[in-house]
Structures are given as structure tokens and as C-alpha cells.
Amino acid sequence: MSRRPPRGEYIETDTGNKVARKANLVGTQNIMLGGKTVIQPEAMIRGDLARSVQPSSSSGGAPASNTAVAIGRYCFLSRGCCLRPPGRLYKGAFTYMALRVGDHVFIGPGSVIQAASIGSHVHIGANVVIGELAIIKEYVKILDGTVVPANMVIPSFSIVAGQPARVIGELPEGGHEAFELRELYKTVGNNPQPAPS
């Protein structure tokens, strides 16, 4: 599965994902990576917490379609962040729901994400906590240390900060390009390229 020399820091897959060997991925069969996504060391994804609609069904060996965490293209999961599916009581039974992440999503170091969905072009700073079943739309910037409460919806073009999170500003149109993570993708991996000046 690795075309690169096997002892690099990262495992590089055919679809261009760069997964650090020191990343903690639990339940990989339930984790979907869209390609060209970087997972840095000590990032954690809890794929084992998959949806269990009927509480009686065993989901330990659930089929592969039972995606718990789906991540799009060109996402960047920084060191020490943690993605886990949100849980909720649904019709009296506890179940985990899928966590869906769009493309070009940056997740800062030490952030814990339990959202229901994160749109494309989202920048999440360091040490952010995103509560369960929060919905983050496209083009959102979440500043360092923010605590997004459970069930919060953050509309597009918001800049969000605080505990609990509140919208503190609007993204200017000129700032949309900055969400592209193609260049950042190139700068990590087993043979990283220097950042363009």
C-alpha cells in the first residue's frame, strides 16, 4: 500500500493521502479519506464509533459501508487533533452519527471535533473544541481556543471565536483563496517541498 520507502514518517497511499505512522486511527475500516489528505502524527480518528441504529446489532465488525468519519480532499489534520463521530440519543437509543468533513479543511493542533458536518474550505485553529452535532458550513474560520457548543450551526463566511463560540466577523471576499490547502499538502510527507515564497 505504500509506494514510498517503507520507513518514511508518513504512509502515502495511492490516492495521495499522507498518513503519519504515529497517527492514531481506530477503526480504519470506517474511515474514508478522499485523497490528498494529510494526517499528522498523534492525530486521532475514532472510526470505531460507527453508527449503530439498532442498539442490539453488533457493529464491531460492521460492513465497510458503515462510514463513521468521511474526510474530503486536501484536508489537513494537524498534530494532536482528534476527530470522533458525534453521539446522541435517537428514539431512546444511543447511537453515533457520521462525521463528514468537506474538502480543504484545516484542523489545527489539539482540536477536538465532534461535529455532524464540516463544509469545504474551513479553517479550524489550534485547541478548538467543536461540540457534538455542530454544523459548520463552507468558508468558516474558527479561531484558536474556540468552544463551539453542541448543535450550533455556523453559516458560511463567518469568523467565529469565544467560549461559547459566537460569530465575531465576516470573511471578506478577498480572503477566500487563503483556504486552499494544495500548497500546504505539498509541504509535508516523506519528501516535502519547501513552501513557495
Binding site: 498518513v19 492514531n24 486511527l25 480504519t28 472510526g47 482528534c82 473544541v129 467560549q163
Partner: protein, 196 residues
């Protein structure tokens, strides 16, 4: 689209578990993930039906750790790290029943008590010797200073604001916790033998 690995069920690099295995006393009904880290020299007690997620960490170096019934210790939560005071006491951390310690939260050792039904939020920190009452909510990234005492039903939110939870839903919360544990027990492969 491809799953990062179709062969292996997880990529979990080994954790550095230096030092001796702490003496443990497990109830037979607990769920403890294989990659949980237990260190220290004092006893670790875990009561019935409690769940320890992968990569949760319990350190009994600074005192005995006891976890009540139906507690959930999430991944990367740390119980019993030696506080800034460096105090070593007989009882390090005592969690009541139905306590949830969320992802990345930390409860320092030193006669620290967390009352029944209390939730310690994501990334929150409980200082050494703090005594948290029953059914408290410590919201994400809140910090409780060492030695602080919180009355029952206190909610700590927004960088240290306090208020009283008047919902009176403690029993419902317990029910929800029990259901969550029911699901987690099926999802997390338990390996208590590794630690005994």
C-alpha cells in the same frame, strides 16, 4: 476514494509504558480498551460497567485512583497526573458513579474528588485537590483551580463563569449514560487481562 487501510482495523503506534504495572482491581463488567495506559505504583480501582476509551491514561503514581460505576473515560483523558503541587496523597483521584471525563480532559491527583453524575468537558482541567460536587458540568476547556470546591449542580462555563443547573435531569442523564455504555461495550474491544 479508498479507506486508508482495508487490512488493519486501526493504526495505533505502541505507547510508551515505562515502569511497573500498577496493581489493579477491576470489576468483571468493565470495558477497557487495549490501548489504555495505566501507570503508577498505587492501586487503580475501576467499578462495574465503566468504560475506558482507547488512549485514555491513568497514572496512580501520586495516589490511589478509584473510578465509580458506569463512568466513561474518553480518549486522551488523563486521571491522576501529578499536579503542580507535586503532592502525593493516599487517595489520588476519586470519581463517583456516572462520571464522564471527556476527550483530553485532565484530573490531577491529590485527594481530588469528582462527584456522581458530573461531566468533565473536552480539554477541561481539574486541579489537584479540587472537590467537584454531584451533577456538575465542567464545560469544554474550563479550568478548575487546585483545591477548589464546587457545590452540587454547578455549571462552569465561558472561562470560569458559574451557575446552578436547575434542570433536575440527573436521573435522565444517568439513563442516557447507561445506554451509551451499552453501545460502547459493543464497540470497544475490552482487554482487562492485559492490565491484571
Amino acid at each position: 476514494m479508498s479507506s486508508s487501510s482495508s487490512k488493519r482495523h486501526s493504526i495505533l503506534p505502541p505507547t510508551s509504558t515505562s515502569g511497573p504495572k500498577p496493581p489493579v482491581q477491576f470489576s468483571s463488567s468493565i470495558t477497557i480498551a487495549d490501548s489504555t495506559v495505566l501507570t503508577g505504583s498505587n492501586p487503580i480501582l475501576i467499578s462495574s460497567e465503566s468504560v475506558l476509551h482507547p488512549r485514555s491514561r491513568i497514572d496512580s503514581l501520586a495516589g490511589r485512583i478509584s473510578i465509580g460505576r458506569r463512568c466513561i473515560i474518553h480518549e486522551r483523558a488523563t486521571l491522576g497526573s501529578v499536579g503542580t503541587s507535586g503532592r502525593i496523597t493516599e487517595r489520588g483521584v476519586t470519581l463517583g458513579d456516572y462520571v464522564t471525563v471527556e476527550v483530553g480532559a485532565s484530573v490531577e491527583a491529590g485527594d481530588t474528588v469528582v462527584g456522581e453524575g458530573t461531566v468533565v468537558g473536552v480539554g477541561a482541567k481539574i486541579g489537584a485537590g479540587a472537590v467537584i460536587g454531584r451533577n456538575c458540568t465542567i464545560t469544554a476547556r474550563s479550568v478548575i483551580a487546585a483545591g477548589e470546591v464546587l457545590r452540587d449542580n454547578t455549571v462552569v462555563y465561558s472561562n470560569g463563569m458559574r451557575r446552578v443547573d436547575r434542570r433536575g435531569v440527573a436521573e435522565l442523564r444517568k439513563k442516557g449514560q447507561a445506554r451509551q455504555i451499552g453501545v460502547l461495550r459493543m464497540m470497544i474491544p475490552s482487554n482487562p487481562g492485559k492490565f491484571q
